[in-house]
Structures are given as structure tokens and as C-alpha cells.
């Protein structure tokens, strides 16, 4: 579903991403851990076509993201760290708009069912999203992904700033999507949530993928220790 081969992005002398290679298959949730500036968001931006790679290649559903960015985006959904919607529109209207411009047309009942599936309270459907919490906005984001029938989900620190309940609900939603065969790549700082939802966890530092584990290989404690060790070891090395 997601295939990244030796993807590199440099800005002058600075290497933001250094020969990154990873695969995320159908029904897998890959969590990228790492400090700020490790290259997690750069990876997602490259997959979205927001920036162009210096070298290497990336594929979504076997479609090259650089050569066919528009086609790639038909298969993916994206939820940024702080998902913003049009505050003057309701959740239904936002969903209708974002689905519509992606060439997916739905009746009102269908739109409501997507929002319901994403876990948004029915009473909020027709209210302006201006007063929505971050968790509620992210549920609309998930509804957009559901409406789009996206095969790939890209998440950039989606749980930061969420309260534990909302974070837990979000995790459950990801599991639901995983059950539908969606391949998810999630950049996060949240070790606990990563351990909860991921199938694979990778640790990035200085644009490189330093470690990669299957989530079944380690307990949360071991994951934490390995993560800290990876981060500090490399810090000491540098």
C-alpha cells in the first residue's frame, strides 16, 4: 500500500530525510516515532506531494507520488496535527464539500452515516464546526477518509492535544479502519498510543530510520527503553 524506497530530501546542506525506506501493507498501522525535526512530517509531506523529494521514490497503491500526485490522492486520506475545517459550515457541509471536490457524491443520509461511523455525536452534525473540539474535528477528518474510501491513511501527530478519552476513541477508530484493510502511516510522539494501535513501530532520528520493531516483539516498557536508548545512543554518538 505504502512503499518508500531510499527517499531523501535535502534543503541546501541540511538533510531532512536521509534514504528512508519502509513498507506499510494493507491492514497495517505503522507508527513513526521520533523527536521534533526527526523527519516524520517531511515523510508525510513527501507522500502527499506537498514537497518534492531530492532522490528516491514513494508509491501509494503502486502509484508514484511524484509522477502522479493527483491520482495518488484519490487513494489516500490525511489528518494533520491540527485538522482545520471551514468554521462557517456544519460537519455535514464540510464532509459534503471535501468529498465533493474529491469527486465523491453522497446523499445527506450517507454523509450522516459516515459521521456516525466516525463517532461524532448526532446532535453535532448540523452545528457549525467553529466550536468543535480538536477531537470532534478529527472525527470529521476520519469521516472524510471513510467517505473517500481511502486505502491509505496518513496521520501527522493526530493525538497530540487530545484528552485521554478522545485519544482512546481515536485509537479505536484507527483499529476499525485497520479492520477494513486501510494501511496507516502515523507520525507521533505518543509512545503509549503507538504501542496501543500500531502493528509496526519505527524510530526516526536526523532523517534516518534508526530502529523498526513489530509491536508484538516488545512490551511497552521494552519499547520505551529501546526508544530512549536509540535516541540517547545516537545523541551521544553525535
Amino acid at each position: 500500500m505504502i512503499r518508500i524506497n531510499n527517499l531523501t530530501k535535502t534543503y541546501g546542506d541540511f538533510t531532512a530525510l536521509d534514504a528512508l525506506s519502509l513498507h506499510v501493507n494493507e491492514g497495517e498501522i505503522y507508527c513513526l516515532l521520533g523527536a521534533n525535526g526527526a523527519g516524520k512530517t517531511t515523510t508525510i509531506n513527501l507522500l502527499l506531494g506537498f514537497i518534492k523529494p531530492t532522490s528516491g521514490s514513494a508509491y501509494i497503491n503502486d502509484i508514484n507520488v511524484v509522477e502522479q500526485p493527483k491520482l495518488t490522492k484519490q487513494h489516500l486520506a490525511y489528518i494533520p496535527e491540527n485538522l482545520m475545517l471551514y468554521p462557517s459550515l456544519t460537519a455535514i457541509e464540510n464532509l459534503d464539500y471535501f468529498s465533493g471536490i474529491a469527486n465523491k457524491k453522497f446523499k445527506k443520509g450517507e454523509l450522516e452515516s459516515f459521521l456516525e461511523e466516525a463517532g461524532l455525536q448526532t446532535s453535532a452534525f448540523n452545528k457549525s464546526v467553529a466550536k468543535y473540539s480538536k477531537g470532534m474535528r478529527q472525527k470529521v477528518g476520519i469521516a472524510i477518509a471513510l467517505a473517500k474510501d481511502a486505502k491509505v491513511l496518513l496521520l501527522d501527530e493526530p493525538t497530540s492535544g487530545l484528552d485521554p478519552k478522545a485519544s482512546n476513541e481515536f485509537g479505536q477508530l484507527l483499529q476499525k479502519l485497520r479492520g477494513k484493510g486501510v494501511a496507516t502511516l502515523m507520525a507521533t510522539h505518543d509512545l503509549f498510543r503507538a504501542k496501543e494501535v500500531a502493528t509496526t513501530i519505527g524510530v526516526m532520528k536526523d532523517g534516518q530510520l534508526k530502529q523498526q520493531w513489530s509491536v508484538d516483539e516488545l512490551s511497552l516498557k521494552e519499547l520505551e527503553d529501546s526508544y530512549l536508548e536509540t535516541m540517547s545512543y545516537n545523541t551521544l554518538q553525535s
Binding site: 490522492k73 471551514y86 462557517s88 459550515l89 464539500y97 471535501f98 465533493g100 474529491a102 496518513l154
Partner: protein, 474 residues
Amino acid sequence: MLRYNFKYEWLLLIRNRWIQLLSILLFLLFGFAVYNGNQKVEARQANIETAVNELKTQEAETLSVLDSLEKGHKVSVSRWRLPSRPVVIGNSLSRVVNMPAKSTAFIATGQSDLFSHYVEPTVTGDDLSLSYTEMTSPVQLLFGSFDLAFVIIYLLPLLIIAFSFNVLASERESGTLKLLASQPIRIRTWVLQKLGLRFFWLVLCICITLIIVFAIFSFHFAANWTSLLVLLAYIIVYALFWFVLAFATNIWIHSSAKNAIALIGFWVLFVLLSPSILNQLSNSLYPMPSRTLMLNQVRTLKAEATKKQDEILDSYLRDHPEYAINDSTQTRNFYHRYMATQNLIKEELRPVVEKFETQLESQHQWAHTFSWLSPALTVQNALNDLAGTSEKDYQEFRHQSLAFAQEWRNFFLPFMFNNQEFKKSDYKNLPAFEFTYKKDATHLRILGLLGMSLLIILFVFVLKPKNKQVNIVA
């Protein structure tokens, strides 16, 4: 995508009160501008009407005196003021040679605050004595007129800038751009559609408010529907140009503040600077000869001619044997010498006046050729043409009135040189004047502006994308 953009752009504009605000603002601006324009036109028409009425009163009195004279009654008019003398009729009953306002004159004041709209050529007056310049308040000239052309040329671009400067930057700044850009759309196309829709709604607001304002001010739609369509076409093309500039700015510059500054910069360049630069350049390239020197030359020529009036009259009569008089009781008087001299002066002055006019024409021609550099100037010229208040219209009035002045003099010359009395029956043969507006070809320049707008879109879409990507993550 267009269908959804159309539906939700409308909703967003309505909910953000943009459409309501625009409609009210346009209604107030257009309303005040049309009211002002109409006031000026009414004043102009009233001036002409007053002059015509004065002439009618004078005509009635003169014809009554003439009638009494022809019936042999005694009249209480001095010998020199007797209307049987052709020179008296030619000087006192001179026609009101006027330039009536077009029904669209309220659109643009144009040159109407500089020039008078009627002259009264007399038989003894010369072309230079016809004053075409209106006494105008310099303060008003400095600030210009608040007419429809002012609203369209100066204020409409500012409204468009406010309405369009941050279409893309606001998405970036509010955080919706990333979600948008993750959809299978091309951001350039999306921005073009958004601005296209805003252009559509603005044009719709303009058309509706303008028609309402025109209806309030009793515009004759049936008689002037073509003018209305042309006016709307000019506004649409001009608005399109500004939307296209906003489109290019939205694509290339990435923050609302910078976009606003860039667009205001374009406004200063195209609306304020380029017309003034073109004007300065035309003045420098084709400097006008000194008017004072020209008037001095005129005075010298007149003084010389006055000294040689007898010679001039002899020569004139040799050239005009039809004015020979065989009756020894008849003599030549002051006016015979004066009229003969006038013709000579006119001939001798022709090179001086022509030099003046050639330079003026060159200035206008130069400014006209390069007016495409300033869309504001192009539209101002187009609106002035539509309103019949352009520099060309006043030149045309001058030419037609000078031709009439000559016709007026020519009518009286046989009477004067043949020492023939003016009869009441001659009155109906007096030359009459009717001004006709000349057709123009401003539409082509407006098409040029349309072409320029399309070229900018083409440049943004076809040439630039290969080098520059729309910045999503900035």
C-alpha cells in the same frame, strides 16, 4: 469540483456577510456617483437651456423691431443697433452652438468640467475669441469628480482586492489548505475556480445594483440598452483584469499581508502612476508651444493688419468681384475693412495655430498609443467615450463649431459687402447648428485588456508551474 465550489463558496460568502456588505457598498457608491453625475449633466443642460432661452427672447424682440421697420413704423432703437443691419443680426442673434449631453453623460465627467458646452460665434468674432474653457474650481479639479467612472476605475479595484487578496493565503493561515491539498485536486485550478466564482458574484452584484440605481434615477433602458451593455462589458473586463492579478498574486505570494501589499502596489502602479507617467512623457516628448507667445503673435498680426486695412480691403475686393458695388452712393465702412482683415489674419495665423494643434494632437496620439499600459487609462477613455465627455468629443465639438462659425460669417458676408439690408424673410435662412458625436473604436482597446488578462492566466497555468510549485507547507 466546480459544482461544490460554487455551492459552498456562495454559502461561505453569505454566512460571512460578504455578499450583503458588497451589495450595500456598491449600492451606496453607485447611487452617490450616479446622483453626482446627473447633477453635473443637469447643470450643463440648464446652462445651454438658459442661453437658448435668452436667444429666443432676443430673437422675438429683434424680429418685432424688424417687423416694425419693414412696416415703416418708428422704432426706439439707435441707428447702430437697427436689426436691418446684417452685422447687428450676425452679432446679437448668434446661434447657441451647443454640445448636448449624451444620455450616458452622467457616467463619466471626463473633460466636461474643463470645457464649456456652448459657444456663440458672431459675425465679427474670430476663431480665437471663441472660449471653450470653463471656469472651474481648481480644488474640484484637483480631487476630481465622484462619478461612476471614478467608482469603477479607482474604488472597484480596491473592493476586488479586499474580496480576493487572501483566497489561498487564508486557507494556509487558517489551516484548511493541507486538508484541501490532500484531495485529488490541483490547487491552481481550485484557486482559479474560487476567484472565478467571486468574480461571478461580484459581477452579479454590480449588474443588479447598477440596474436598480439606474432605475431609481430614471435611466431610459429601452433607448439606451446598448450603452448599458457596453458599460457592463467594460466593468466586467476591468474587474476581470483585477481578479486575474489577484489570482497570480495568490499563487505566487504566500501570506495575506504580502498579498495585500502587492495588490495595493499594483493599484498604485496601474491606477495612479502609469496614467501620470504617460501624461508626463507625452508632455516631455511633444512640448506645447507657449500660448502667450502665440497670443502675442496674434496681437502683432492684428495690429499690422489694422494699419493696412484699406490695402487689405482693396485686395480682398479684387479677389471677390461678386461684392463690387456700382452704386456711387454706397460706400465701404469700418466693418467691410474689418471683415476683410479678419480673413487675412486667419490665413496668416494658420501656421501658428496649426503648430499648436499638431503638438496637441501628437500628445494625444502618443498617450492613446500607450494607454494600454494602464488599464485604468484604457477604461477611463472608454467610459469618457461612452459618456461623450472624452477629449476627442470636445475636439470634435470645437471643429464642428468652428466650421459653423465660418458658415455663420459666410452667410452674412454677401449682406455686408453688398450693403444689403437684413429682412424678416431672411431670418428663416439663418444657418442652424446641430452637434453630432463621432463614433469611436474604444472597444478594441477593451478587448486588448481582456487579452492581457487571459495572457496572465495562461502564464500562471502553462509557463510557471514547471518551475514553481504552490507552497502548501509554508
